[in-house]
Symmetry: C2
């Protein structure tokens, strides 16, 4: 999108927090400030009443865009932080988007339904000098990969997964933050709509022409190649019946120097494809490494497991130990514990690419 | 495209035969008749002067669309059988396309430049009741794979490759023809623009949204699933720096019961990516089989090698023996010799899916 607002409201009607993955991601990780979350189901509460969040990221929950506009300091964008299945636009959100545009406030969305193609929104944006950012719309100059991502100075780290929604974006963001805290010039390379909203830039890899999948990732790695470390957000899984093409294109387009395998504790089948069992952890390690090797050799150097469903820390540690043994490296849950161990493993493989 | 003409002229100015892959593919394999090849560089010659072709597929080479229209019986479509790098439209072809439309003749093209978006062509087609078929334009109802291709009755055979342009389409077509000659209800499942022009239907997998790569293949396998055998045209290679996403999506979308590994004798690096060496043949076998296994187990049961660059039949046999040993199955060159051995190997794995 190449838009970096400084202060935003986040639309998340009825679904915040647990069914509003984009809203919670933005609230946790975005570089810009959160003025308010808009959720008509919970006005008067605070974000910290719903999710654990550092104090400096906390914000009030308000009922409407009008309420968000009443707050000081003023916001410069509305982020649509929810998406129904299919990525459509829910007409019940129209008054909030309309109100934002009438106030000259930009609107950022990652829906399959492009706001800029909506006549009312386009006309209001024009009239009030506001910009509509549809982050899921690929830019028109994408092309095929030249196989050059390995030429960058940066050390490139890719999160890969055992399935969709196992924490690849979160792990990439936690690693980026932990590296930055150590004074390393690290950047997060977003590949999906939530990551793009958080970072304010990026290519929506799942929406590009299939021939350009690797090329769209390569372009981003080359653009940010002067950093010390890049954490590329992975997508899907290499054995996902529907999305493996995207996973494979990211692997070969990014040419990572190291990979972190992400998993959710307790997941036994591919989500939504219950007849496809999740293979052994070692199978994933072999598949990702063997597939990477002919294009750019890479190793799975650490594991990250979402242990939210595991009750005690002790049991979570057991789960992580088993996962680490299976991949032959350290494994942790960077949300439940921290990302230091992962970062050490990733940096051990060198920061010079 | 879902258009099956009965008799066509094939546009191939200046590039016929060796740099006109679509034209030669159509001349060799299309279900419809070829009235003429249009090549201003070689008028007065015949197709058989340029490539080896069965007598019943031979046709004259003429200088222009006007000459093609003079022939009897009348044609019902012009096929654009050439594409410059980048898939643009060469303005020097405009008079031929215009002439075809003025005669009410349909035009079929597989360019990235869509003829239907060209104002002059669109208006002429409208005026003269002709249809413009842009076969590289995906239909709008594509979606994600449901992981159901393994439910079809047909035995599904996928050609996979060591690189682009190693003969996957040709091998699939030769196997389809050989199976049909044995009375088997076999169909070719096209995934690229040339294959689509030959078959008269199909999804251009390299142009679909990356999330729909597997789904676009699944759709075709389900549509033709009542046949005895389907030969799915593969694309790219699983270690191609740019196109592996497409390869991976086809593998998981088609869920093949058997694979045929295609190679070109003498190729040592990925074409256009000379720093990426072609791995050992066994590496490909392992990669394709290991990647298929978690979604739908499949084996590489035979190999096909384009030995056009190998001078003698004896030397070609040696090359084929070595390739067969590496994959643990028979290997042949179905153009230089025939496809019977490949077909036997493929059918040995069962025609009941």
């Amino acid at each position: 999108m190449n838009a970096t607002p400084s202060r935003v409201a986040v639309l998340a009607h009825d679904l915040f927090p647990h069914r509003a993955k984009t809203a919670t991601g933005v609230v946790r990780y975005a570089d810009y400030e959160i003025s308010a979350v808009i959720d008509r189901a919970n006005p008067g509460s605070r974000v910290s009443d719903h999710i654990s969040i550092p104090d400096d990221r906390d914000a009030p929950v308000v009922a409407s865009m009008a309420d968000a506009l009443d707050r000081d300091p003023a916001i410069d964008a509305l982020v649509v932080g929810i998406a129904p299945i299919g990525g459509g636009f829910d007409e019940s959100w129209r008054p909030d988007v309309t109100r934002a545009l009438e106030a000259g406030t930009d609107v950022i969305a990652g829906l399959h339904y492009f706001l800029a193609d909506d006549e009312e929104f386009a006309s209001l944006a024009d009239e009030h000098d506001a910009t509509l950012h549809d982050v899921r719309k690929p830019h028109p100059d994408l092309t095929v990969s030249e196989g050059r991502a390995n030429e960058v100075d940066a050390h490139v780290v890719l999160t890969v997964g055992t399935d969709c929604s196992v924490g690849k974006m979160t792990v990439s963001l936690e690693l980026t933050r932990a590296a930055q805290e150590r004074g390393i010039d690290a950047a997060f390379v977003p590949t999906g709509q939530t990551g793009i909203m958080i970072a304010g830039w990026g290519n929506p890899i799942d929406r590009v022409v299939s021939d350009f999948t690797a090329g769209a990732v390569e372009e981003m790695v080359l653009d940010e190649g002067d950093r010390d470390v890049l954490f590329v957000e992975g997508q899907g899984s290499i054995v996902h019946p529907a999305y493996s093409a995207v996973t494979c294109g990211i692997l070969h387009g990014a040419m990572p120097d190291a990979m972190v395998l992400c998993h959710e504790a307790g997941r036994e089948a591919v989500h939504g494809y219950e007849s496809t069992a999740i293979p052994d952890t070692g199978t994933y390690v072999d598949l990702y490494e063997d597939l990477a090797a002919p294009v750019h050799p890479s190793e799975v150097v650490a594991g990250a497991v979402n242990t939210a469903a595991v009750e005690t820390d002790a049991a979570a540690r057991e789960t992580l130990d088993a996962f680490g043994t299976a991949i032959g490296g350290p494994a942790t849950d960077p949300i439940r514990f921290d990302a230091d161990e992962l970062l050490d493993a990733v940096l051990d493989t060198g920061v010079d690419g």
